[in-house]
Symmetry: C2
Subunit: 204 residues, 2 copies
DNA sequence: CGTTAGTTTGAGGCAGATCAACTTTGGTGG
DNA sequence: CCACCAAAGTTGATCTGCCTCAAACTAACG
């Protein structure tokens, strides 16, 4: 939860319904406010010229979106896209600043969130070199499944999150099922033991 | 500059002199305040169990250090080490909170810094997969040399910053000199044209 | 001027990306 | 409810960037 008492503070703002796959903003644009996710999932993606995608962050119910660029006054460094159908509310700069003025504690909460995300990002960056692809894939499925258990994550999404390819994700998933760490059903799968997986990720 | 009027606000705090190579804090410890760098350079490093190091961030004169962990109430996710002889001041939680209460704008400045660092970190993470080692090395020497021109960066430091190895850095540097983009003198080198380098980084 | 930390250069190997062909899933509309 | 089909997943074969290992060289400092 990133904003306290959202509904009571912004009763005049209207939400927008997004279909799965639609974009909220794109890399290079400049923010004029921030977004609040009423429900649904949104992903932040960086797309390189050569077509390679990196899945940077996931945003869910009650999360803020677009706040990083807003607070450092930069253009968006990545694009945000609805992973599921979603409902979001845009909070224009004017309303946001009034809210921040009346809720001095909220800035501290946002700072805590961004600071935590920075740590996570730096550890993921480190993992790109001090861990194998398999280890990163295991950590990624643990993260994605634990935080968003109801979501069916595709091999491509797991690959883009872990810094790998969907073929390699397939192979790792097959091995994990053979080892009894996960159970596949259809395109989805469920984790048998998080502890066992994380232990295996370290060995990789 | 991360803190306005540092000297006038904390006249009672004493600074500490650090020799090149000494550690300020280590991964896993919990912060009880933050550090202010009076002068010198400090590096933030993540060290993996298999010995691989990642050079996460550089801190220079008047920068804050250790603020990320402080504000999200996490343990340090990496270790900070003096790159040069340095002088730093520890600001205990108590003093810091008084300062923040009297300078509401400072929190916003720190948030802007952390938000900017998050963007940079995520783009570096993306670059680990959508750029070649050569491209990342070129971007790294441009960043390090432009921001800290007086520092002699070793091949190892450039490698750990770019996500590569010092042998590969050597080879890239040799090629860049052959192409006339840099001039080596001793262990150091100077950049002839930033534009030319960045263009080359994209092609890699 | 000795020492050591840093650099250079070459050779070889491999993790995992890439390419390709095929199969399965699950949603859609008739 | 079934037939269809696009999207997602599987599997195997190949290829390569750059990491790793090794050995010699050199700058820079006390």
């Amino acid at each position: 939860m990133n904003i306290d008492n959202f509904d009571s503070f912004f009763p005049h703002l209207t939400s927008r319904n997004l279909k799965k796959g639609s974009f909220i903003y794109e890399e290079g644009q400049g923010p004029s406010g921030i977004y609040y996710i009423n429900h649904g999932l949104v992903g932040l993606y960086h797309l390189a010229e050569n077509g390679k995608e990196t899945f940077l962050r996931v945003f869910g119910k009650n999360n803020l979106l677009g706040h990083r660029s807003y607070f450092c006054k930069e253009k968006y460094h990545a694009s945000s896209q609805a992973i599921t159908n979603a409902e979001i509310t845009f909070i224009p700069q004017e309303d946001l600043e009034i809210y921040l003025g009346q809720n001095p504690n909220s800035l501290r909460q946002i700072l805590a969130q961004v600071a935590s995300d920075l740590g996570r990002s730096e550890l993921r960056m480190s993992g790109r070199h001090d861990k194998s692809a398999g280890g990163r894939i295991i950590e990624s499925i643990v993260f994605l499944k634990l935080h968003y258990p109801d979501q069916l994550w595709t091999r491509k999404q797991i690959a883009d999150y872990s810094g790998s390819t969907f073929e390699t994700v397939t192979r790792v998933l097959n091995k994990l099922e053979k080892d009894g760490d996960i159970i596949k059903n259809g395109r989805d799968f469920s984790i048998i033991s998080v502890e066992s997986l994380l232990e295996k990720a370290g060995q990789y």
